[in-house]
Amino acid sequence: MSASALKATAILPGRGGIGGALSDAFWRKPTLLLFVLLTPPLLWLGIIYLGSLFALLVQSFFSIDEFSGLVVREFTLKTYGELLRPANLDIIVRTLTMAALVTIASAILAFPIAYFAARYAKGRWKAVFYLGVMLPLWSSYLVKVYAWKLILAKEGILTWIFDKLHLTVLIDSWLALPVVGGNSLSVSPTGTFLVFVYVWLPFMILPVQAALERVPSNLLEASADLGAAPRQTFLNVLLPLALPGIIAGSIFTFSLTLGDYIIPQIVGTSHLYIGMAVYAHQGTAGNIPLAAAFTVVPVVIMGIYLWLAKRAGAFDAL
């Protein structure tokens, strides 16, 4: 720095130019900066995102002319009525059950991992944790799903391992069960479930870990100090405080399962899930209104779920 730059005046001269004028203006009016920064994303969110959602909602109130196959642009609840047909209702119930089971399994698997990462992992182990959780997200989703198809196939590694352990009878008797079973794991609902849990698990681990990280360890000590055995501390302190994280994670796992159409197509039975139904109706069948109505189902279910969670006090600890 030259000596002249250090010359002491109480007020420094302006930086000059457009940049200088802008920074001065933004400093004087912080709301201006906020406006400039927020307008593009709000336009995106408002028009493209919410707008298309609204368009979808409108579409679902149209119906299709059964003879010509053209969309009738008149408001009707006929399409929603079609949702209630046994075949379609089946799809909804199947998808909902799968989403709920996947969410519960993810939460049970994620909690110990997240707990370890939040409480015990330090420095390098923390990096290993993040890498371990995130790494699967870096590779292609399709590749992972096809890899699982091979793992679960009749000639796959899982069958081979069970065979070597002389436990093939376990797989066979499980596959012989109604509803969850099938010819092999890769064409059974159990296979679909396993792949769903594998693919969405990171989305449960990360928010639960973030929530557990925010629980001060002295709360756990205070609970023990007041006479609570570990199980009581878990139920009365740890779980309630981690609940917002579990809810956040379950929003991911639940809604991702509700909307997915690739996994059940590659691994599992020929039964449809909501995502597959949407895909079929808006594509080959050309029934856009019914596809839209199917899409509204997960939106409504998620709305109800969040409302119930809020009423149950899941967000009180936030």
Binding site: P216, N218, L219, E221, A222, S223, A224, D225, L226, G227, A228, A229, Q232, N236, V237, P240, L241, D316, A317
Partner: protein, 328 residues
């Protein structure tokens, strides 16, 4: 009658760090006992050893005559008031206070009644429905106190309970804590780095340094007759005189302590040079240079204060010079 808390050669090492190093300690039932020391001196680790959050590396701990090592915190009839209160953020004040009762299976109405009684005791009646986040620091501290006391513990542990409060509130809480302790008759063990707090509240004090207890005694003993240079310096910022200086001033060649308030500026006695003065309100602290050693004098308000650079003479009663031996 067994001691309320007794440590026999208790050590707690963290790797190569000896947080607590072969400590012997006895706390009597019904006593208000303070553990005083600078940060990192091992006083908080000792508290955590009593609570059960830490286990000793070696040694033996007894609480009311019963072996405590290996016993988890939830099986000790000991409760803690945490430094930052550690109130459960998802529970309201009443449920926080009633937590220990809830854990022990006391019914809903019964435990809420007891919680309200405990809140009344700490002068927060009717606060049960609020969330901890809506309370001030002083109020949270009272809730933490109620939450611990409602369980009627054999020993109440307090970890720097007044550290986060402002001066006025702190003084008020000191009085209240003392009254509460005397009326309940519960043994209080109380950790602080504030020597004034320890002196004014405790029946007995243990002064900690480097994981060891330097001295245990009544506030009067600790203040008047410190055994080591560290205690003399830490408790009440006494003047510590080197053996050479003590000898020069007419004593034996031993370390000695001399309270700033026991020295007066006089017309006769040892000569010293004023290096600085600072006004404290009720007195003026005068820093002197006496034969190359620093000496502070608490000079009463009202009397004329010498300017820095002035030559003064100092005197004290013979009894005020406390000898600590040649190796203190």
């Amino acid at each position: 009658m067994p001691h309320a808390v007794s440590f026999q050669k208790v050590s707690r090492h963290f790797g190569s760090v000896r947080a607590v190093d072969a400590v012997d300690l006895e706390v009597e039932p019904g006593e208000f006992f303070a553990m005083l020391g600078p940060s990192g001196s091992g006083k908080t680790t000792c508290l955590r050893l009593i609570a059960g959050f830490e286990q000793p590396t070696s040694g033996h701990i007894e609480i009311f005559g019963e072996t405590a090592e290996g016993v988890p915190p939830y099986r000790r009839n000991v409760n803690t008031v945490f430094q930052d209160y550690a109130l459960f953020p998802h529970l309201n004040v009443a449920d926080n206070v009633a937590y220990g009762l809830m854990i022990r299976g006391v019914g809903g109405t019964e435990r809420l009644r007891e919680a309200e009684a405990a809140l009344e005791m700490v002068k927060l009646p009717g606060y049960g429905a609020r969330k901890p986040g809506e309370l001030s620091g002083g109020q949270r501290q009272r809730v933490a106190l109620a939450r611990a006391l409602v369980n009627k513990p054999k020993v109440l542990l307090l970890d720097e309970p007044l550290g986060a409060l402002d001066l006025k509130l702190r003084e008020q809480m000191q009085d209240e804590l003392r009254l509460l302790q005397k009326s309940l008759g519960i043994t209080f063990v109380f950790v602080t780095h504030d020597q004034g707090e320890a002196l004014s509240m405790a029946d007995r004090i243990a002064v900690f340094n480097h994981g060891r207890i330097m001295q245990t005694g009544t506030p009067e003993e600790i203040y008047r007759r410190p055994k080591t240079r560290f205690v003399a310096d830490f408790v009440g910022s006494s003047n510590v005189l080197s053996p050479a200086l003590t000898q020069r001033l007419g004593g034996p060649a031993e370390w000695a302590s001399l309270r700033p308030e026991d020295i007066r500026l006089s017309t006769e006695g040892a000569e010293a040079v004023v290096t600085a003065t600072s006004f404290l309100g009720s007195a003026t602290r005068v820093t002197l240079d006496l034969a190359g050693e620093k000496l502070t004098v608490l000079h009463p308000a009202g009397a004329p204060v010498p300017a820095p650079g002035a030559k003064v003479r100092i005197a004290w009663d013979k009894a005020a010079l406390h000898l600590m031996g040649p190796e203190a």
